[in-house]
């Protein structure tokens, strides 16, 4: 039955015969485990394509939507973190496999006549793989993506004569990346590069088939064997091992998402993906006007040399053990790469940003003036909510609809005695003034905070308001400037410093006017946590 179906299909399409022909190809007797890497690279690409398509199903490809949609994939969709993990770790793993494949071909001298074009197409595929990594790096649109790509496009801009055009082509004119950069990188990542890679892969495979798998020099006398089953088995085992490794990483390694890209965040230290770190370090070696050497000239010379390898080495094919020059070149490159990468890691300060910051829902309260946030606490404590239900009409007006138009005097009176027949509230003058600010000045984000009532943040803001920090400090644009603005405190000070400073300001800032504050441990935790969360 199955045979008849196969025969039917073969008569009409010839596909089963073509597959058999493909599998039964003759390969040299010396073929073996060292030749599995090409197949693994092919499957690595297919896995990137499959997981990439899956990610695109739930991705908003614009700077406004990208970050939130990646968070949605990571936190709201079952299996989303796994799919992104496979794509993310797969990208790094694919680079390793492609480079190992290239090293194997290089060491074995498999690029020699008549396989020069196979090598050249392979070099182009290496560039494609790196371009995938470079463009994909931007797509989560977190700080890492934004600042990494800012540096990348600036480096491209260093190219003599062409720099300005390259930057314009990348949509990064004026040294700022944005909508156009994103659109170009995204389109390159999901349309241009996949199509070009598929075409080049087809050509590469065609050339491999045309010239056959490279035999060793003394192999010609031995009988050939078939691609199927022994070599297919080896290729499958290697691919399986590859998939297991990236699946383990996807499942167990932490894959975060930084805060959404913030072009005003000056404390973020950009760094590229690990496989580009050596280039990043190379930039530091060449200073001043020589920068272009490290940024543009050397990397491009290296690429040109790579393409020209078959023409630079035209010697006769020899056995692997005799290819000492090739092995030495690989070893030297590896040492150079590792050294530069190690220096880059050692000299780049660790990121101060929480790698998981972007996975938490955005906290609207971090933008709210502290007295308004404290007033949210007063609002609930003083039972205002009994008459004012937000987003609903109730005994009192719905305060979420629009800011109150009442004058401050009326409001202050109302907050003392809300109801002519009822009991007066116990709100202090300060608390009543904060409530006036809340009901008259709050914006739409403030209304969300008001309705959601984030307990921990309110606890911190209550202390900030009660101790009248605003008398000297400014936070979120509200307060005085007798003392430093407290926005972005986390970037300047450690938590221990802030806590110690409360207890004994003069010990930390000699000559300061700030008095010591005594908090209970819980209060200290609340106010420090609150202050450290407010961004610049």
């Amino acid at each position: 039955m199955l045979d008849r179906a196969r025969q039917w299909l073969d008569d009409r399409t010839g596909l089963p015969s073509a597959v058999r022909h493909f599998l039964e190809e003759d390969i040299p007797a010396s073929a073996g485990w060292h030749q599995v890497l090409g197949s693994v690279a092919l499957f690595a690409f297919l896995i990137q394509a499959a997981t990439g398509i899956l990610l695109a199903f739930n991705y908003g490809p614009t700077p406004a939507e990208a970050h939130a949609s990646v968070r949605y994939i990571m936190t709201e969709l079952s299996g989303g973190a796994m799919i992104r993990g496979l794509h993310h770790w797969g990208a790094s793993a694919m680079i390793i496999v492609v480079v190992l494949h290239m090293i194997q071909v290089f060491v074995w001298g498999a690029y020699k006549k008549p396989r020069e074009t196979t090598w050249i197409v392979g070099c182009a595929l290496l560039l494609m793989t790196l371009a995938f990594g470079l463009t994909g790096y931007l797509l989560p649109w977190d700080n890492r993506a934004y600042w990494g790509t800012t540096v990348t496009t600036q480096i491209a801009g260093l190219a003599p004569v062409l720099g300005g055009y390259v930057k314009r082509l990348l949509g990064a004119e004026g040294d700022v990346i944005g909508n156009i950069t994103f659109a170009r990188f995204y389109t390159a990542h999901v349309v241009l590069l996949p199509v070009a890679t598929l075409a080049l892969m087809g050509l590469h495979l065609y050339l491999v088939r045309r010239h056959g798998v490279t035999p060793t020099p003394d192999d010609t006398a031995r009988p050939v064997k078939r691609f199927y089953p022994a070599q297919v088995f080896k290729d499958t085992v290697a691919t399986f091992a590859y998939v297991m490794v990236i699946a383990l990483f996807a499942n167990f390694a932490q894959l975060g998402l930084g805060s959404m890209a913030d072009p005003t965040d000056t404390r973020y230290i950009p760094r590229p993906e690990w496989y580009f770190l050596f280039l990043f370090q190379l930039l530091k070696v060449f200073e001043g006007s020589l920068e272009v050497v490290g940024a543009v000239i050397l990397p491009n010379l290296a690429i040109v040399a790579l393409f020209l390898v078959p023409f630079l080495d035209r010697g006769k094919a020899v056995r692997v053990r005799q290819r000492t020059a090739a092995i030495a070149i690989v070893a030297l490159s590896a040492v150079g790469w590792a050294g530069l990468t190690q220096r880059a890691v050692a000299t780049t300060p660790p990121s101060t940003e929480d790698p998981l910051a972007g996975l938490r829902p955005p906290q609207e309260w971090i933008h709210m003036p502290p007295e308004q946030l404290a007033a949210v606490g007063y609002f609930y404590d003083a039972a205002c909510v009994q008459c004012h239900v937000l987003e609903r009409s109730s005994a009192g007006p719905d305060l979420s609809k629009a800011p109150s138009k009442r004058d401050a005097e009326w409001l202050l009176e109302h907050f003392t005695q809300p109801d002519a027949d009822g009991a007066p509230t116990r709100l202090s003058a300060l608390q009543r003034r904060s409530l006036v600010a809340l009901v008259t000045e709050r914006d739409d984000r403030g209304v969300d905070v008001w309705a959601r009532r984030p307990q921990e943040a309110i606890a911190g803001a209550l202390l900030y308001d009660a101790r009248q920090c605003a008398f000297c400090h400014t936070l979120n644009g509200s307060g005085n400037k007798r003392a430093p603005v407290l926005n972005g405190l986390a970037a300047r000070r450690t938590r221990d410093w802030v806590e110690g400073h409360f207890a004994d300001p003069k010990a930390f800032s000699p000559g300061t006017q700030m008095p010591a504050y005594r908090f209970t441990p819980r209060e200290l935790d609340a106010i420090t946590g609150y202050l450290m969360a407010i961004p610049k």
Binding site: L54, F57, E65, Y72, S78, G79, P229, A230, V232, T236
Partner: protein, 165 residues
């Protein structure tokens, strides 16, 4: 695997089975999370809340009235507030029904015809009475009702629809 070499399992068929097994495992590593990812519901499908649309006493008894209100809807990675409408019919002083504005036939937006005292869909002329029952046309079921409740004399409309029939 239970084969023994004494029975003469050829090298070729061992390789064949191993290739198929490993190939299936490779496919499963991608396909299993992909299936969950595509088919499982998002974890917190945050339903919107009940929204107040008006004072019940302001509705005329037995006369359909279109109400416009804003509801919160979770749209993928975003929560949006969007304008929407409903047809409210107060049947008794303390009772009202809210109909979804879309015809249950193919989703066109129907309207109230004062002259015929019925809801009429402009697409295929389905007609419904004030209780949503089908009077004419191809509609397969009565009008869809929105979950609603009355609280302190106010009519509140909820996020879900109830299909009748």
């Amino acid at each position: 695997m239970h084969e023994t070499n004494s029975k003469g399992v050829s090298r070729r068929s061992f390789f064949g089975s191993a290739i198929q097994l490993l190939g299936a495992a490779i496919a499963a590593v991608v396909a299993a999370p992909a299936a969950i990812y595509l088919l499982a519901k998002p974890k917190s499908s945050g339903q919107g809340d009940f929204v107040e649309v008006g004072d019940l006493s302001e509705f005329e008894l037995g006369k359909p009235q279109e109400v416009v209100y804003y509801r919160t809807r979770v749209d993928g990675w975003k929560t949006t507030k969007e304008k929407t409408t409903a047809w409210v019919v107060k049947s008794e002083p303390e009772k009202a029904v809210a109909f979804s504005p879309a015809c249950p036939h193919l989703g066109c937006i129907f309207r109230w015809e004062e002259t015929g005292e019925s809801f009429v869909c402009p697409c295929h002329a389905s007609a419904f009475d004030t209780q949503g029952a089908v009077l004419a046309g191809p509609a397969p079921r009565p009008l869809d009702r929105l979950v609603s409740r009355i609280e302190g004399g106010k009519l509140l409309i909820g996020p879900q629809e109830r299909h009748s029939g």
